[in-house]
Symmetry: C2
Subunit: 437 residues, 2 copies
């Protein structure tokens, strides 16, 4: 069955997912809102917001970081960029993408415009995220390795799917919207390390909004923009792995999403989780520890193994510094922990010197092993796999702690309460619930 | 020398081109304005314009088909779509693209916003068109054959170049704007035959405006979005033909541009020009002609050789019907000539039956040969090559005739007068000159 046919069927069937899947959407909304609000003053967020505000237009949707409402496309763009500005949002490893930062800003902006409820927005977010994930897997490693940023490319199709669901487009309109997206989706990895990387999230959000609203208005595009001759797959190095659609429509992959609980490179998180577990179980401190050995997949050596970082930014890419921070109780979930001043702390430097990093090519990319030798003679070992399932209660507790670290405990509690109570708050639009400071 | 370095140097050097090259820009503006105004009520133009008008925003730039001014990005988008809606705009064959419909709407909208003069807009149009053409050749046949629409892809970089020139961006900003364009340029040929094809022109115009304005504001993107690892060329099947830049900055390729003088498939134009010459030189009519033989490159058989068309649209893709129209004096430059009623004209049908089409694989794709046998016993032969240079005076006369057929003689004369008088009309913005009905 052609992929476009599968997607149209899935989007227009409007099935209700099981409650545990809906709960994942709630958790993604909590996390997305927290990282967006915390990222509102990042330079890229400010620059994109200022230009959108200068353009102006109809007051359709809430915009993070300002009380000025803007047209839905502009709001999706700004909120997408803003929520990816800190690179602290969720990741779906198998699809190599960040589903929330494209789909949520677009769907919530559309809900603000149409008056859709938070509950309808959640259904549309799930639809969009599921399509972004499935298509990310389908486009696959060839697409990613050649240089396409899956968050932006598969993400744009996911946004279109979520927008089509929210707008209740019919099958023909949904097909046209997906077809049009083949000419709107883009984003190359040459931008990594620049402001253009977080911009990709907003651009994908805007692209899907455009595609869905144009299709709703009657624009005619390719019947099969994905798989036809000279369509998206043919031009964008798609792997076309049809196993991506195993169970599609019955099972959801969004619950596999991995949230970031540390405000640093995702490649260091498995190590931090393993060390955190040892630290808490054995009440380790830097005074009781003699040495630490970290084992990771060799691909990370070029990414996040700066042995002696000189700045707060470099610390985010340093196994040794981050291990020292974890052992010393420096909160790795707080943005302000990564100050340049930290590098002058002699205790952290001493501790860092006790950490070794080695590699194991047979290890999964989502795994890390941490071994600790104590002054008392213990040899402690912990493994962590970021891809391992996490119960919703554990995830909620950790996300609330992260949210509190980012936007304050009072605001994070209120935010969560508003998200779960959504059906009873028809007077506040989803954007107002999620983006009020 | 890296392509981005060449482009930055060319854009920021702001050299003044020779007068005959500037005259080509004047002619392109005349033609672009005429086809845009004539296309304003096409469904795709109307739909895109209505959504932009609904979004609203700052009254920065003129929009074809409405007196409502819109933000510069929206104006570039709508005017780009509108000017490509009839598919009656210019073509640069060697680069496989339509340079005017992307660059002119973007540059003139920016000029409306900044208060730049028509003369400054012309310089920026030339800069942008030259970059679009050079990059179209550089991206080349691989890029096009895989399925990318060069008008949209190379066009977006061209727009960025023109916008950077108009905004007088410095070298760093220009580099950032070009880098960002690597994530904004797109458009696949799966859309051909749908409304999304003309939308590509507007999307490229909007992309270049976005890139230039964001770079002006301080957005940081890839240093070399075109050629770096995982940049545009690596991901978009670029041929990377460096001969594309032979003479770049000293010589201009825009004068090679081919204008359409018949409101039908470009593949039929060489035939129409050859037959037109014979008709006028020998005062041929359908009563004096016994038979006609047309010879073209075989690639056109699948495109524009519908032997017995049934609709006005099919007539645009029919060598035989178009030859009958030319011989009978039906104006092939007027949109209204292609009515369904025409197919019921018995005289045209009789004449059509006298036309044969044959192919010659050794013929250039831009060429056609027409042979006519008259009742008087003459055998007349004419060849035409669309790539052959056309003098500016001849081109002007033909463009004025086309413009008059599209928007009326009075308006076309006034338009041309305003275009050439540009330096003396600082009180009227370029958009107002070009897009007033």
């Amino acid at each position: 069955m052609p992929v476009t046919d599968r997607l149209v069927e899935f989007i227009t069937a409007r099935r209700a997912p099981p409650p545990d899947v809906t709960r994942i959407v709630d958790l993604c909304l909590l996390d997305w809102s927290s990282v967006a609000i915390a990222g509102r003053n990042e330079p890229v967020a400010r620059l994109v917001r200022e230009r959108a505000a200068q353009e102006g237009g109809e007051a359709e949707a809430e915009v993070c970081g300002t009380t000025q409402r803007l047209p839905v496309r502009a709001a999706a763009l700004v909120n997408g960029v803003t929520s990816h500005a800190l690179d602290y949002d969720d990741t779906h490893f198998a699809s190599l993408g960040h589903p929330s930062v494209t789909v949520i800003p677009a769907v919530t902006a559309l809900a603000d415009r149409t008056g859709a409820s938070m509950d309808e927005a959640k259904q549309a977010v799930l639809t969009g995220a599921e399509v972004a994930i499935r298509l990310g897997v389908w486009l696959g490693r060839d697409h990613y390795r050649t240089g396409f940023h899956v968050t932006a490319t598969a993400g744009a199709f996911g946004v279109t799917a979520g927008a089509a669901r929210l707008l209740q487009l019919n099958a023909v309109q949904t097909r046209m919207a997906l077809g049009l997206t083949a000419s709107l989706a883009g984003g190359v990895k040459a931008q990594f390390g620049t402001m253009a990387k977080p911009m990709h999230a907003g651009l994908a959000a805007a692209a899907g909004v455009d595609a869905a609203l144009w299709a709703e208005a009657g624009i005619v595009a390719a019947e099969d923009g994905l798989e036809s001759t000279q369509g998206f797959a043919a031009t964008h190095h798609a792997t076309r792995d049809d196993r991506a659609f195993d169970g599609f429509g019955r099972e959801y992959l969004l619950p596999e999403v991995s949230h970031k609980f540390h405000a640093c490179c995702h490649g260091t998180h498995a190590m931090l989780e393993a060390l955190r577990r040892l630290r808490d179980a054995h009440e380790l401190t830097r005074k009781t520890v003699d040495s630490i050995e970290i084992t990771v997949h060799p691909q990370y050596l070029d990414i996040c193994n700066i042995p002696d970082p000189r700045t707060g930014l470099e610390a985010k890419f340093s196994y040794r510094q981050l291990a020292a921070m974890m052992l010393s109780g420096v909160p790795t979930d707080r943005l302000e922990s990564y100050s340049d001043d930290m590098l002058a702390d002699p205790d952290l430097s001493t501790c860092r010197a006790q950490v070794r990093v080695r590699t194991d090519g047979s290890m999964r990319e989502t795994c890390a092993r941490v071994e600790v030798w104590t002054h008392g003679g213990d040899h402690l070992v912990a493994d962590h796999d970021l891809a391992a399932p996490m119960g919703n209660d554990t995830r909620l507790a950790r996300l609330l702690a992260k949210s509190a670290a980012l936007i304050g405990e009072a605001r994070s509690r209120e935010l969560w309460s508003d998200i779960v109570a959504s059906p009873e708050t028809p007077d506040r639009s989803p954007g107002a619930v999620l983006l009020t400071l």
